[in-house]
């Protein structure tokens, strides 16, 4: 069995070529390899990714330079283009049907908005400590999670939040992705609840937004505009990342936490869930023609399973069913996520993006083991409601990627083989 390895050199040497968009654009030119047709809409068990791809060291260095103002956004994009192309190539070679750009231009899955929106500033927890009321509590969280405070960054609303330009939050990312693949496309966006919860910070945000609800109105409007623009451009799948909902349900029981969620003020869990459902439904209200998903996991910042949150999706499912979205993109490959039977009560109400590979381990999941797991779900779930994906991204945080591109590729390859077996059985 031979697996692909893609580096900037292989990308630039001709395996993949950047589209010259100044000449009207074009599609990915695959100089060698098999050019596959776009996924049929009716294909069962579509394989997709949750979003992020491991960042090579040279990209992280470039990201740091951009953040320090040592290179321009345009210079960074030139460098990042190669990383995106490599990410796409890995996904396509592995048989992924719905691809992302690997989120490699982003610092992480939600804080990148600070570069796209004005009035919102990326702040390190070490900078926020003077404003945190329960510092002792945060110290416990940092220790339990084994992370330094400088590694936790959150976008904080410090003024009225507005778009910086015409590129929206992800439109430039999407345009590049779309012009370099013929597969279906997915864009992950930070969910409205996550953005609101993490960005409203007492002492810093209340001048522009007296309450968190005030900020939520602007967040919803910005995301709605983004969704409409992505739909118009032909995006197939928009995934809202809402991992902090795990914190809502399990945060009080665990020392470990999502920093992005724990930073924000929060109320009773049921009120928080209602708030999250309302924001999501306001964001997608009346918009059809694009698949909406919500991704929720229990943490992807460390390879130490014991520092990540745990608990099944049961307490969240009633609220998730009230969200007007098509798919739940969930982690299920780790025992921390609980048993698959928890979905029995809500069978077929939503598509399930089933996590069947752990992005944080070196071992490659056996396709037959993945098949066995899906068969258990098929006992009470329809095949056309099941998508297959890893539990989370392979590089949620640019500087704390949880795996290498080679292993990520092999894991996706296994998922694709499992999907092929399942399709033959169906």
């Amino acid at each position: 069995m031979e697996f692909a390895t893609h580096t900037p050199e292989t990308v630039q040497s001709g395996l993949l070529r950047k589209t010259d968009r100044s000449n009207g654009g074009g599609k990915l030119e695959l100089v060698c390899g098999i050019f596959q047709a776009p996924m049929s809409k009716t294909k069962l068990f579509p394989v997709t990714v949750v979003g992020s791809w491991p960042r090579p060291a040279w990209l992280v260095q470039a990201l740091r330079k951009r953040q320090n103002g040592e290179i321009t956004q345009a210079e960074f994009n030139q460098i990042a283009d190669d990383a995106v192309l490599a990410s796409i190539k890995y996904q396509e070679d592995a048989g992924v049907d719905i691809v992302t750009d690997g989120e490699v231009r982003r610092d992480n899955f939600y804080s990148f908005v600070t570069e796209k929106l004005s009035g919102i500033k990326l702040m390190k927890l070490s900078e926020l400590m003077d404003y945190v009321k329960d510092r002792a509590g945060f110290e416990e969280i940092l220790r339990a999670s084994d992370v330094p405070s400088f590694a936790i960054k959150s976008p904080i609303a410090i003024d009225k939040v507005t778009e910086r330009g015409d590129a929206g939050i992800s439109l430039d990312e999407f345009d590049f992705l779309k012009s370099h693949t013929t597969r279906q496309t997915k864009i992950p966006l930070p969910g409205p609840y996550l953005l609101t919860r993490s960005a409203w910070f007492e002492g810093l945000s209340d001048k522009a937004y007296p309450t968190r609800e005030d900020l939520a109105k602007d967040v919803v409007q910005i995301l709605r505009k983004e969704v409409l623009a992505l739909k118009k451009r032909g995006c197939d799948f928009i995934q809202f990342d809402e991992p902090s909902l795990t914190q809502v349900v399990y945060g009080d029981e665990a020392e470990q936490t999502f920093m992005c969620a724990a930073l924000g003020t929060h109320r009773d869990p049921s009120e928080e869930l209602d708030f999250a459902v309302r924001l999501m439904n306001e964001t997608v209200a009346g918009i059809d023609g694009v698949r909406f998903g919500v991704h929720i996991c229990r943490g992807n910042w460390s390879r130490k399973e014991d520092v990540l949150l745990k608990g099944n999706y049961g307490p969240l499912l009633p609220s998730l069913m009230r969200m007007n979205i098509h798919q739940l993109v969930l982690e299920m490959a780790t025992p921390r996520a609980g048993e698959i039977e928890v979905f029995k009560e809500f069978k077929n109400q939503k598509e399930l993006g089933l996590g069947v590979a752990n992005p944080r381990t070196d071992n490659i999941e056996d396709p037959q083991a993945i098949v066995q797991r899906v068969r258990r779900l098929l006992e009470f779930y329809d095949a056309d409601k099941i998508f297959l994906n890893p539990d989370c991204g392979f590089g949620t945080f640019a500087e704390r990627c949880v795996n290498t591109p080679e292993i990520a590729y092999k894991k996706l390859w296994s998922i694709s083989r499992a999907a092929e077996i399942l399709r033959k059985e169906s």
């Binding site: 740091r64 390190k124 940092l142 992370v147 330094p148 400088f150 590694a151």
Partner: protein
């Protein structure tokens, strides 16, 4: 035209090198740096005290659980902080002298008392202090792991505070009653 001084990590490496060399070459500098270093701690009220060091002052208190007001960290916590701060200084010094750019540096320390009952007057045995102190360094810097580990080792081995805590230190105590 004067040559512009190059800064690294907020320090001037050439100037630091000059100071380090003068400690070796100039006995007066070495004497001044060697000490004595002084602190005067003045009791205020309850468990509160204030420490005065040169022109600086640091407040000390104890947690509310000890019927104190918790207006400041307690002395043993400040000992941990002193160790961490000293390690931070040593890390930055050693990194700068090796030309390594540091972006972020954080040191997390912790310890458990061996037998705090001795402090409470319930026991005559054991050590009321920390038998072990853990110190974990998190760093984001432009150097390979091997270089950074060497810098960390130099910081630990060269830390006056950490090495004071790590070795048996001769504490000379005196007592004097003042007034009636």
């Amino acid at each position: 035209m004067a040559k512009a001084e190059v800064e690294l990590n907020g320090l001037r490496p050439a100037k630091i090198r000059e100071i380090l060399d003068s400690m070796r070459d100039n006995p007066d500098v070495l004497t001044a740096v060697t000490g004595p270093w002084k602190s005067r701690v003045v009791w205020q009220k309850g468990f509160k005290a204030k420490a005065y060091m040169r022109q600086h002052a640091v407040q000390m208190d104890e947690p509310e659980g000890l019927d104190a007001q918790d207006t400041a960290a307690s002395a043993h916590e400040q000992l941990l902080s002193a160790m961490g701060s000293c390690l931070s200084v040593g890390f930055v010094l050693n990194a700068t002298m090796r030309g390594v750019q540091i972006h972020d540096l954080e040191i997390a320390l912790e310890g458990n008392f061996d037998n705090i009952l001795k402090w409470a007057g319930h026991s005559k045995d054991g050590n009321p202090g920390y038998p072990t102190v853990k110190a974990k360094c998190y760093v984001r810097a432009d150097a390979d792991d091997k270089t950074l580990q060497a810098i960390w080792k130099a910081a630990v081995d060269g830390s006056p505070v950490v090495q004071t805590v790590a070795r048996p230190t001769n504490i000379v105590t005196e007592f004097e009653r003042v007034g009636a």
